[in-house]
Symmetry: D2
Subunit: 165 residues, 4 copies
C-alpha cells in the first residue's frame, strides 16, 4: 500500500548503464550508508544497498554520479526472485529509485539547473528511450557477457518484465 525509502550515502563504484532487450535504459549502483552507531568491536559499519534507476533517470545517474559521491536516493523497496543455475530460488532486494539528488557537485559537469539532482519523470521532453536509433542491438540483448550487472557477479536477471512503470 505504501513503500517509501530515503537514503543518503556514497556510491561504492561508478554506476553502470545498460539497456533491456526492448531498449529501456537501466542503471544500477550501490550506495554505502553509514550506520548511526558503531559495532560492539568499535569499528564503523555501513549498509551497502543496491539501487536501480530506469529510463531518463538512469541516463542522468550514469552521466553525473561517480564512485564516492554523496547522494540522496528516494524510492521503494523491491524484492525480486529468480531461479539460479542450480535451480534454487534466489531473492534480490533493491531500491527502485524515482528521485536521486547529487549532493556533491561534479566539478566537470555542465551547469545543471538544480545544483544536482533529478526526478524520475522530470525531463520534460524526454521519451525515456535510449536515443540510439531503431536497432536496439544493445550489449544487453546480445548475450551474457554484456548483460546488466553480470560482471559484478550477479546473475542476468533484469528484463523488460521488471520495468516498474
Amino acid at each position: 500500500m505504501l513503500n517509501r525509502v530515503i537514503l543518503i550515502g556514497r556510491l561504492t563504484k561508478d554506476p553502470e548503464l545498460r539497456y533491456t532487450p526492448a531498449g529501456v535504459a537501466v542503471t544500477q549502483f550501490t550506495i554505502a550508508v553509514d550506520r548511526p552507531f558503531s559495532s560492539q568491536g568499535g569499528e564503523r559499519e555501513a549498509d551497502f544497498i543496491p539501487v536501480v534507476t530506469w529510463r531518463q533517470l538512469a541516463e542522468t545517474c550514469a552521466n553525473y554520479l561517480r564512485k564516492g559521491r554523496l547522494t540522496a536516493v528516494e524510492g521503494r523497496i523491491q524484492v525480486r526472485n529468480y531461479d539460479n543455475n542450480e535451480g534454487k530460488r534466489v531473492y534480490v532486494t533493491e531500491v527502485i529509485a524515482d528521485n536521486v539528488r547529487f549532493l556533491e557537485s561534479n566539478r566537470d559537469s555542465g551547469g545543471s539547473r538544480d545544483d544536482g539532482g533529478s526526478y524520475g519523470g522530470s525531463a520534460p521532453s524526454s521519451n525515456n528511450q535510449p536515443s540510439r536509433g531503431g536497432n536496439n542491438n544493445s550489449g544487453y540483448s546480445r548475450g551474457p557477457a554484456a548483460d546488466p550487472f553480470s560482471d559484478d557477479g550477479k546473475p542476468i536477471d533484469i528484463s523488460d518484465d521488471d520495468l516498474p512503470f
Copy 2:
C-alpha cells in the same frame, strides 16, 4: 548517513518472537506491500519485505500483530551477510523497525492508549529484557531446532552481535 523506510502492508504470518543467547527479545515477520501498478500480465503484485524488531518493541509486536493485519512499519534497511553451510556468502536484507503502528484493531486486545502502535523506546519503565527470570534458557540458546526463523528455511544467523543498539 540517513536511512529511513516507511511501509504499509499486511503480515503474511503471525510474528515469531525469539530470544538471543543473551536473552534479548527479537521478533521477525514479513509484510506484504502491494505495488502501485499491475504487472504486464495484469495480475496484482506485492513485495514481501522481512521486518525485524528488538527488545520491548519485539514483545509488543508479538503480542498484538497477527497474520493479515494492516500495519505501518518505520525503520531502516539493514544488509547482513553470513557464510552458509556450503561456504558461500549470503546477503540478507531486512527492515529493522523502530516504530510499528497497528492499523487494524485487535478485537481481543486490551485498550491501548494509542489505538494501536508502539515506538521502539516508548515503554517508559521497560528494561527491554525478557521478563523470564535470570535463567535465559530460551529455545534460542538451546540449539538449531529452536533458533529464530530456522523453521521458515532461513539459516540461524541472528546473534547478539546483530543487536542494532
Copy 3:
C-alpha cells in the same frame, strides 16, 4: 532539494472539492495525527495538518475520504504566503499530497482495485480536468461564498498560480 512527508491520521471533516478559475480540481482536508507522547498535563494531543490534493487525486479524495477515516498521506511541505486584508503577510503551511491511501474501507464505495488508495498520476486515462463541460463557471470563480476553504476561516488564496505541477 528533497522534501518528503508521510502522515497517518484521521480526517477532521469531510474533504472539500473546489475548482480553480481555470477549472483545475483541488481538494483540501485536515488530518489529525496523534503525537507519540502525552502532554505534561497527561492528555492526548494531536497535530492538525492541512493537506491539499490536485487534479485527479483531488477528485478521488473527494469521492472516497470522509471525516474520521484513517488515512495515509504522502507528499511535500509547502509554505505559501499572501498579504491579508490588513496588509500583513500571512504564512500558510500545507502538505501537498501526491499519494493518499485509504486505510479504512468505505462500506458504500464501489470496489476499488487497490483496497483503497490513489497515486497522484495513476489514473491512466484521466485528463486531470474537471469533466464539467467547457464552461468553468465553478463556484470558485464566482465569489467568496464558494471559494475554497473560506468557510473554515481561511482566506481565499489558492489560485492557478499555486498549481504544483
Copy 4:
C-alpha cells in the same frame, strides 16, 4: 499515528540557540528547500521551512550548522497555536527534528566521527541540560530582547510546555 518528514536544503541564517526558563536548550533555524519545478514565470522557487531542535541536538546544531550549509533534517511536523497580542489565534507550523545530518563539512570543525550529523539521543553521557551552572538566568527568561526567534519577527512562544519529550 505516524508523522515523518525528511528535508534536504540550505540554512537561510546561522542557527539560534536559546534556553527555556527551565534551562532546556532549543535551537531554531530555517531550511530553504528548492522545489522540483519552476514557477509559471520560470524562476526557481523554494519552501522556507522552520526547524526546531531540542537538548543535545540543539547544542550540536548551534555548534556545527551555519548559514548556507546543505543539511538533511529528519523529524515530525508540529502545529502549535497561541493567541497574539490582538487576541487572535495564530498557527505556527514547524519541523521538530530528531536527526540532523551535516552534508557539507565545516572546514573549521574538529574531526567529527561521523563526517557530520547528529541523532537526537545519540550523545551517550549528555544530560541534555545547558552547562551554564545552577542559575538559569538565561536571556530567554529575562525578556523580549533575548527571547527565542523574536528578532526574526516571530512572537515569543516557546516555553517548557512545548518540550516534545
